[in-house]
């Protein structure tokens, strides 16, 4: 079969299970395709031997009669997840040749289900950024318009799915890093409730915000991956939630109470925060989102006006808390034990300074400095503590809104993908573009990006759906119902 890349997770798993193709054939095909489209910059590392060994093992399991939804399906991982078989760089020169002795829990769980790893995907350095231009190994290009950014930090992940280099991938989301690139590249992505997926083996950026999630072409495919990824990991991650894994695929098509065939979402109340629909949002994005919401009404949902009054504050709050945690998390990269060490230095302090100045890119250095500043004696109360207080208020705002609705919807980002280099010299402009995703992360809530159509220049626009804690099932169900009625998510960029 030479159109294997056109298949999503479900279709590919069936084709492999039915022996129409094999895991090895699928892996080879997708690796060849990754090479063919290497100009996109999506992949940072491949290891054909390791991939094919995994694929052969999956084929053997299939030959032995085993069947499961991910058995033999090739996937790729954001280069934030550490892996035994592939170098893990986190997009940083600091870890250019870093080889982890263990697999991240998420990687391990997907592998246990028989998924095969194609390689590691480009991202902003240490997941810091919203355009993937902060990777030490080059920017990633948006396949819808290769002069534009794919979003970030999971830019390589979004591009791999959009350009059909992998049927599904993993990403991580700290302030929007799954949802925003999914929106920019027209793919489906979900950031689960904080603590739903283990953080063990994720190179830490901001510990209280980091969360792993799947990205794929459809909500149904995301459901397959998330079912394998989620669940407690209490022996390795103290912030992992003691909440059993769920079968999201089953939840996807479980009929809602009072639903009909024509109106599968009957009774679903979708809250529209007025702060998400203001003048900060580009008209093409707003129009696309409103059209998607109209579709939801057709599916039986009712739209309710709600308010998240502290939305604007989420930007300063996030850009205090995340850098504070990052400044501490990145202290281990000191040139002593692993990672980059300067070739020449005078003494210990000089070794630290040179190794870190050479190893970290400008955005990472900027955030380390911001974080160090806000935690410093005399500033801690004014910045860090104050930010934590507002963070709690932001979470309370969501609870107040959820008293009136089941899900919250709005745009993922105020604009479609911008031009490469357009905001490179303006970090604040980059930060402001995160306005619709940060508050969800600060509250620890699950959020999704669902392809909703196309805006200016034929560029994809995502609809953001946010659920209450542990509402990944209803979120995926709402996205799935939309995708049953629309075909935005099936569109591939020209030439891919």
């Amino acid at each position: 079969m030479n159109d294997l890349h056109t298949l999503g997770v479900g279709e590919l798993a069936s084709a492999i299970a039915d022996r129409k193709t094999s895991s090895v054939e699928a892996a080879q095909h997708l690796l060849a395709r990754a090479k063919q489209h290497s100009a996109l910059g999506a992949y940072l590392a491949v290891n054909e031997d390791a991939t094919l060994a995994q694929a052969r093992a999956a084929d053997a399991r299939i030959a032995a009669g085993e069947r499961s939804p991910l058995l033999g399906v090739p996937l790729a991982h954001k280069d934030i997840f550490v892996t035994k078989d592939f170098v893990t760089t986190a997009g940083s020169k600091m870890l250019e040749a870093y080889q982890s002795p263990f697999d991240a829990t998420v990687v391990q769980r997907l592998a246990a289900q028989g998924a095969v790893t194609l390689g590691k995907l480009n991202c902003d350095e240490f997941a810091m950024g919203g355009s993937n231009e902060n990777s030490a190994f080059g920017a990633v290009r948006n396949p819808w318009d290769t002069t534009r950014v794919p979003g970030g930090s999971s830019g390589g992940s979004a591009v791999a799915v959009a350009a059909r280099l992998a049927p599904a991938v993993t990403g991580t989301d700290t302030g929007g890093s799954i949802r925003q690139p999914a929106s920019f590249c027209g793919v489906t992505g979900i950031k689960p409730t904080y603590g739903r997926c283990s953080r063990y083996g994720m190179v830490a950026f901001a510990s209280s915000l980091d969360q792993a999630g799947p990205m794929a072409r459809s909500a149904a495919d995301c459901a397959v991956l998330l079912s394998a990824m989620a669940g407690p990991d209490l022996d390795r991650d103290s912030t992992s939630l003691d909440h059993p894994a769920e079968d999201y695929t089953t939840l996807l098509s479980r009929p809602r109470e009072g639903a009909t065939a024509a109106q599968p979402l009957k009774g679903l109340r979708i809250g529209l925060p007025k702060e998400f629909f203001g003048e900060g949002c580009a008209p093409d994005v707003l129009a696309t989102v409103r059209a998607a919401l109209a579709e939801y009404e057709k599916l039986g949902a009712t739209l309710v006006d709600v308010s998240l009054p502290r939305t604007e504050l989420s930007i300063p709050v996030y850009y205090i808390i995340a850098p504070a945690e990052a400044s501490s998390n990145l202290s281990r990269f000191d040139g002593v034990k692993f990672g980059h060490r300067a070739a020449k230095y005078d003494d210990l302090i000089d070794m630290y300074k040179k190794s870190r100045s050479e190893g970290f890119g400008p955005e990472v250095q900027r955030r380390i400095m911001i974080g160090t500043y806000v935690l410093s004696h005399g500033y801690y109360d004014a910045y860090y503590l104050q930010a934590q207080k507002i963070r709690r208020l932001i979470a309370q705002d969501f609870q107040a809104a959820f008293a009136q609705c089941d899900l919250i919807a709005g745009p993922v980002a105020p604009t479609v993908a911008w031009k490469l280099g357009e905001k490179s010299d303006d970090p604040v402009a980059n930060y402001l573009a995160d306005i619709y995703t940060l508050s969800t992360s600060l509250a620890g809530l699950p959020g999704m990006s669902v392809p909703a159509g196309f805006g200016a220049g034929g560029l994809p626009v995502g609809l953001q759906l946010v659920g209450n804690y542990f509402q990944e099932g209803p979120l995926l169900q709402a996205a799935h119902a939309f995708q049953q009625a629309t075909d935005w998510h099936t569109r591939a960029p020209q030439g891919y």
Partner: protein, 484 residues
């Protein structure tokens, strides 16, 4: 609080507060599953978490929390229902994460006190807190020319840092406090107390002031790892501070180290270069929640504490307080006493023997009473033989030595073999006394001339002639009778 009677040194009052790092006796590290055993080859007991490899995360070892609860219960502290782990950020090559996980604003153990005797005066030192934290690794500078080696075996070892109020008023009191705390942590089994290996390390915050003046500026003497150095270091530091003040120099807040070779303290760093540790709650660890029933479970499994046990020994065995305190140095010693006292029915004699012969032997051999070659049962039998007049106290010491060295194994057999049975036959004794009096006519004369000292000499001669077997009381009586 220390007593109102304060000891002045050159007109100054000494004020000392303590910070003690007790290494908790857990099998594995505080946030990882690597072993805490001492003395392994460098970096063989450091797992991915201890090495701070990317993607690793800490998971609290409940055993360490339980040991902290034990200390809190032993010292009458409040056990926080919820305490918080914080990151103390600083760069050092043997600190793998670039931060130490510790507790800052809300520690697990809050308040409490340590009471002890200094001579016959009871002292009480109040605790501020005890908090859980991880140890760092070790930098090895000696073996690597121009470079340093890092051994991360110790990284992540659980520590309890026990902090007092500045209640201590002298170096002697400081040592007494440290010894009492050492006794308690080993007694309740939370720390092996090995000061050489660094399991129990003390930092002393020392300042001086004129009586009634506000607290002076303190200097912190770091890493005092023996009681002897502790006293020397504090004494030196106090003298130095007083000299400085007398010479018109203000004391600068500083961290100092004691050099046992010179007997001096020397500043490592001053307040000016004190780091800003940028403490903040560790987002990798949720607050440590200790449910009431966990505390109750730990309480139920606690051993009898030394202070309570000493009181009981006074009450149940009629021992003086000094004896009771001495015998409760360790659970093993107390158990040894109780077994021997109960078997012999001679509590005070047993106490004298343990504080005398047994301790002398143990000290000489740096041995532990748990493995003493003379068992409590053997000692009880021996003391029984003293009490019933079979052997004299001196003869009993010979029996004890024989048992200790393994020359003999059974009390009565040793007495028999060595012919140590006391001479209770008055006829034979009379004969010896007559011979002694005849041979020492001069002394007999002196005694009769009123020199009482001569009597003791005659008793000595008689005892010697009996080869120690005579009952001294009987010798006394007979001699007086004959001289009278």
């Amino acid at each position: 609080m220390s007593s109102s009677k304060s000891l002045l040194v050159g007109g100054y009052e000494v004020v000392i507060g303590f910070e003690t790092h007790a290494q908790l006796a857990t099998q594995s590290k505080i946030f990882s599953r690597a072993s805490t055993a001492f003395g392994a080859e460098p970096n063989t007991q450091a797992c991915a978490v201890d090495l701070a490899l990317p993607g690793t995360l800490p998971v609290m070892n409940k055993a360490a929390v339980e040991l902290a609860i034990r200390l809190g219960l032993a010292l009458g502290s409040h056990i926080a229902e919820q305490s918080v782990f914080a990151r103390k950020n600083y760069f050092y090559p043997d600190l793998p994460k670039g931060y130490q996980i510790s507790q800052f604003e809300i520690p697990v153990v809050q308040g409490g006190e340590v009471s002890f005797f200094l001579g016959d005066e009871k002292k009480t030192v109040r605790l501020v807190r005890a908090h859980l934290e991880e140890d760092a690794g070790k930098s090895l500078h000696e073996d690597f020319i121009g470079q340093s080696g890092i051994d991360l075996n110790r990284a992540g070892t659980p520590l309890l840092e026990i902090v007092t109020e500045p209640d201590i008023r002298s170096s002697a009191e400081a040592v007494a406090y440290a010894k009492e705390l050492h006794k308690i942590v080993t007694w309740i089994g939370i720390c092996d107390g090995n000061m050489q290996e660094g399991s129990f390390r003390c930092d002393a915050n020392v300042s001086v002031r004129k009586p009634g003046a506000p607290l002076g500026t303190r200097r912190e003497i770091k890493n005092l790892n023996s009681f002897k150095f502790m006293q020397q270091a504090i004494d030196y530091e106090v003298r130095w501070q007083i000299e400085q003040i007398e010479d018109g120099h203000a004391i600068q807040q500083a961290t100092v180290l004691f050099d046992p070779d010179t007997g001096e303290t020397r500043a490592m760093r001053t307040k000016e270069d004190a780091a800003d540790y940028r403490y903040f709650p560790d987002p990798d660890l949720p607050p440590l929640v200790i449910a009431r029933d966990w505390v109750e479970q730990v309480k139920a499994a606690m051993p009898e504490l030394p202070r309570g046990m000493a009181e009981r020994l006074v009450r149940d065995y009629g021992l003086p307080e000094y004896d009771a305190t001495t015998l409760t140095q360790s659970p093993a010693m107390a158990a040894y006493f109780e077994a021997a006292a109960q078997a012999s029915g001679q509590a005070k004699l047993v106490s004298n023997w343990i504080m005398g012969e047994v301790s002398r032997r143990l000290n000489a051999e740096e041995g532990d009473i748990a493995s003493a070659p003379v068992s409590a049962a053997q000692l009880a039998t021996l003391i029984g033989r003293i009490a019933d007049g079979t052997v004299s106290n001196n003869a009993a010491k010979q029996v004890f030595d024989a048992l200790w060295t393994g020359e003999g194994r059974e009390v009565d057999a040793v007495i028999e073999a060595k012919g140590l049975k006391q001479m209770n036959d008055s006829g034979a004794l009379e004969k010896i006394i007559d011979e002694v009096m005849a041979a020492n006519a001069e002394m007999v004369e002196q005694f009769r001339a009123g020199k009482d000292k001569a009597f003791n000499a005659l008793v000595g001669q008689a005892m010697k002639a009996s080869k120690g077997k005579a009952n001294p009381q009987q010798v006394n009586d007979l001699l007086r009778q004959k001289l009278g």
